[in-house]
């Protein structure tokens, strides 16, 4: 047993296992830092930047910041929460999110994060991108309008399902999700409704057909309790904590 190591999160001690990042250690210790593209079963990705914290006068994505003894990290500050609100507003503005008509409403991490951070308005002009829906698959629907490009489906399909159904294409604001079929249609891939890549999508892009609104709005996941409470339950606790090996 190595010596117990700690860093400070908002002034309170958080223990960590060497190899863990600040976010991983915080969640394992029951401390919440808002995050979106991080998922406890996958390597930290570091793209959404919602998990940004301040340490040593600089900002860092906490999901990829290696925990170190003696580190002093500020997360629950108005400055960081304001930054997170702006980032969430940017994600809303980038896609087409009409929550009232979305089957994921109430189960959606983006929406839940917006509520939890106290977002009250759009903040930015929306881009209204033109993103056609792919309804080709008999049991799955792909509504790209809501994609936040977290790459969880890409990672899940490659690492868990071993299928490489999803990839990213384009660059900059034109970056978008594509599927691995010459036709570009989901129906021509080997995806199954039981795949991890389907379950992992945090927003309403990859949806199962014919189960829509089975649970009524008002009784859904984040209707019960805010995302900050639930993320803690999802996080692995020691000694099962998954350490970050390498981030790419």
């Amino acid at each position: 047993m190595s010596e117990r190591q700690e860093f400070l999160l908002d002034g309170e001690e958080v223990p960590f296992i060497p190899g863990q990042t600040v976010l991983q250690a915080a969640l394992s210790a029951g401390r919440y830092i808002p995050h979106l593209c991080y998922h406890p079963e996958f390597k930290p990705h570091g793209s959404c930047k919602v998990c940004t914290v301040k340490s040593g006068g600089r900002t860092h994505a906490s999901c990829t910041l290696p925990a170190r003894a003696g580190l002093e990290v500020d997360s629950a500050t108005e400055e960081m929460n304001q930054l997170r609100r702006t980032l969430v507003q940017m994600l809303f503005a980038e896609g087409n999110h009409f929550c009232p008509s979305c089957e994921k409403s109430g189960n959606c991490a983006l929406q839940a994060l917006g509520y939890d951070l106290g977002l009250t308005h759009a903040g930015f002009r929306h881009f209204f991108p033109d993103r056609p829906v792919d309804a080709s698959h008999p049991s799955l629907l792909l509504d790209f309008n809501r994609c936040i490009l977290c790459e969880l489906c890409v990672r899940a399909s490659a690492e868990v399902d071993g299928k490489n159904i999803f990839s990213l294409s384009g660059r900059g604001i034109g970056k978008h999700l594509i599927v691995n079929a010459a036709s570009g249609r989901l129906a021509d891939t080997g995806i199954a409704a039981t795949d991890k890549s389907v379950a992992v999508c945090p927003v309403g892009v990859i949806l199962k057909k014919r189960v829509g609104f089975a649970v009524p709005i008002g009784k859904r996941r984040y209707d019960e309790r805010p995302i900050s409470a639930q993320a803690l339950e999802d996080a692995p606790r020691p000694p099962a904590a998954t350490a970050i090996q390498e981030t790419q």
Binding site: S47, C48, K49, T64, L91, S167, R171, G174
Partner: protein, 597 residues
């Protein structure tokens, strides 16, 4: 038959690259060059041969600006769109060529013959406007030249048969110092080094105080040492010749005229860190340098300066391979460059780990700028203490500047660190400068009150771009050009940069169109903050510099454009009714919003 020809081409190409997925980008680039585009069947075949998902191959192809998957096109003309090109009339010239070819910008002509569009700075700022035809650079474009080009295109003459004087690029070396004037002969520095052990070479570089010339200014000796000491048995040397920062072209001149010095520096680095393989990552815009550089490599091999047992020293094996980029500024960022070298989309990695411990193929890798390697060769030959005696205490040696914009003598100037902006402006004949953009759009914009400041890491650090703006230039348009550049070049990985640079661009467009309000200035400031705080790499965090600086120093050029200081929607309500008016055939007062009010 057509089908057979591309199957054959792909087959030989894939074999030549050893069916190695790491070489995917090089293969795609070659397909693009020989076929004019990358067709879906070719993507599928490449994927099959390399054992990659087709979507991944497409994802790589669609990341790079110079790879085209949309359809064939025999002549792709790309006008360099840096602010210095615009100052030299590039926008009107582009329109002129479109007119001559009866084309719309960005559209391929009906028969797949030609398209005309813009591209980020091509590094011909001292002899602009520049353009690329199927990737080949043409400087000093004029209407007369465009008339000739239009005729060649309409006559379907292959680019290889175009007059060679179109493609002559000048070096414009205006001021040589210890580096440009060293007269060092191939192998001279290597001979000095190979008589001592690698560690003493390392000590020389450390003693010289040399800091990286690519922008970040990391101590070169420490980087080499960290790489040497990193665990692993294969190490790599990478020369960053991506030179994408708008306004920079000094690496182009070093590679054209001083290629031996660059390769010598890389070989010395290999000796110091214990590497056997090196790469030069050459930006796609410098495609025309590929063959000349390969010739230099061949000559050096023949002279025993590369290959096995270099200079007869047993076990000193090192060779260099050139990889071409394909139009992505972000690939100048060292970890994105490594991803690109590995045949992937050029996305900056999460750090740590840094390249010195886990770089190319997750092995220890030293990445340095072209100029850094040249300086290292000089230091090896003349000694670290000598080098340290030049420049300022914190910034040893000299710096190459690529000077362009409003001045009489644009070109390459070598100065000891510590030289003032005023001195530089006087030397290049810039009498009436309003502002200088030091180190490109990622750097800082300084106004006349700051011309006493000096080029140095401790004052005005620079990667070498030096763009001068005369009194008559509109600094808002300068900032807008830079904002467009970042939006175009954002890799799209992280939220703040992917979305934020596009929002910044939108806000600047709104202001330019005369619809801006004080509210938009507030939005720009908010976006600047988010980019600064949360961007994943230097591209995003620098993307706000130009608006930050010009808003502070040239605010009136923004405010002059604002429609009012009150809120103004980006959306023109009355304009939106125009279609309804057309359809109903109405145009009376009641059909207009404004007159109703």
């Amino acid at each position: 038959m057509v089908e057979l020809s591309w199957k054959l081409l792909l087959n030989t190409l894939v074999q030549r690259h050893g069916r190695n997925p790491v070489r995917l980008l090089q293969m795609l680039r070659e397909v693009q060059e020989s076929k004019g585009w990358i067709a879906p069947e070719m993507i599928a075949d490449l994927a099959d041969w390399l054992g990659l998902p087709g979507s991944q191959v497409r994802g790589v192809a669609d990341f790079y600006s110079f790879l085209h998957t949309g359809g064939p096109c025999r002549y792709r003309v790309l006008f360099s769109d840096n602010i210095t090109d615009r100052m030299q009339g590039s926008e009107a010239l582009l329109d002129y060529l479109c007119g001559r070819l009866l084309l719309e910008k960005g559209r391929v002509s009906e028969e797949g013959l030609v398209s005309v569009d813009t591209t980020s700075c091509t590094g011909l700022c001292d002899q602009g406007p520049g353009l690329l035809v199927n990737g080949w650079a043409i400087p000093g474009v004029t209407r007369e030249r465009l008339d000739q080009i239009a005729e060649l295109i309409l006559g379907r003459r292959p680019v290889e048969q175009w007059p060679s004087d179109f493609f002559v690029i000048q070096d414009h070396i205006r001021r040589a110092g210890i580096l440009l004037g060293s007269g060092l002969k191939p192998g001279e520095a290597l001979r000095v080094a190979s008589q001592r052990d690698p560690v003493s070479l390392l000590e020389q570089v450390k003693a010289s105080g040399l800091r990286g010339r690519g922008g970040a200014g990391f101590a070169t000796g420490l980087k080499w040492e960290a790489c040497r000491n990193a665990p692993g048995d294969q190490r790599y040397v990478v020369c960053n010749a991506d030179e994408g920062e708008p306004g920079t072209f000094k690496d182009r001149v070093l590679l054209s005229r001083y290629a031996d010095l660059v390769f010598e520096g890389m070989t010395l680095c290999a000796y110091a860190i214990g590497a056997a393989e090196g790469f030069l990552y050459l930006r796609g815009e410098y495609r025309y340098l590929l063959e000349p550089l390969r010739e230099v490599l061949n000559r050096r091999r023949a002279e025993g300066l590369l290959g096995r047992n270099i200079l007869g020293r047993q076990g000193f094996d090192f060779d260099i391979e050139i990889h071409l980029g394909a139009g992505a500024y972000v690939c100048g960022e060292e970890s994105a460059l490594i991803e690109s070298l590995e045949g992937k989309r050029g996305i900056p990695r999460n750090r740590p780990p840094y390249p010195v411990t886990q770089g190319y193929l997750q092995r220890p890798t030293t990445v340095n700028n072209v100029e850094t390697f040249c300086a290292a060769a000089l230091i090896t030959h003349k000694g670290g203490d000598w080098y340290r005696s030049i420049g300022t205490p914190k910034s040893a040696g000299t710096k190459l500047l690529s000077i362009s914009g409003d001045c009489a003598k644009p070109g390459i100037y070598e100065y000891p660190f510590g030289t003032s902006i005023r001195q530089i402006l006087a030397d290049c004949g810039a009498e009436d400068a309003q502002a200088v953009q030091v180190s490109g759009p990622s750097g800082r914009c300084i106004d006349a009150t700051e011309f006493g400041r000096r080029i140095a890491f401790e004052d005005l650090p620079t990667a070498g771009s030096f763009m001068i703006f005369g009194q008559e230039r509109d600094m808002f348009e300068v900032a807008r050009n830079f904002v467009e550049f970042f939006a175009h070049e954002s890799c799209g990985f992280c939220t703040p940069c992917r979305v934020g640079t596009s929002m910044l661009k939108g806000a600047m467009e709104k202001i330019a169109a005369g619809h801006g309000t004080a509210c938009d200035l507030g939005e720009i400031e908010a976006l600047d903050r988010v980019l600064n705080q949360a961007a994943h790499c230097g591209l995003g965090s620098a993307a706000c510099n130009s608006t930050l600086d010009t808003l502070k120093k040239f605010r009136p050029t923004y405010e002059r454009r604002l429609k009012s200081l009150e809120f103004e929607p980006a959306f023109d309500l009355d304009g939106a009714l125009a279609r309804a008016r057309r359809m109903t055939g109405r145009d009376d007062a009641g059909a207009h919003l404004e007159t109703e009010a």
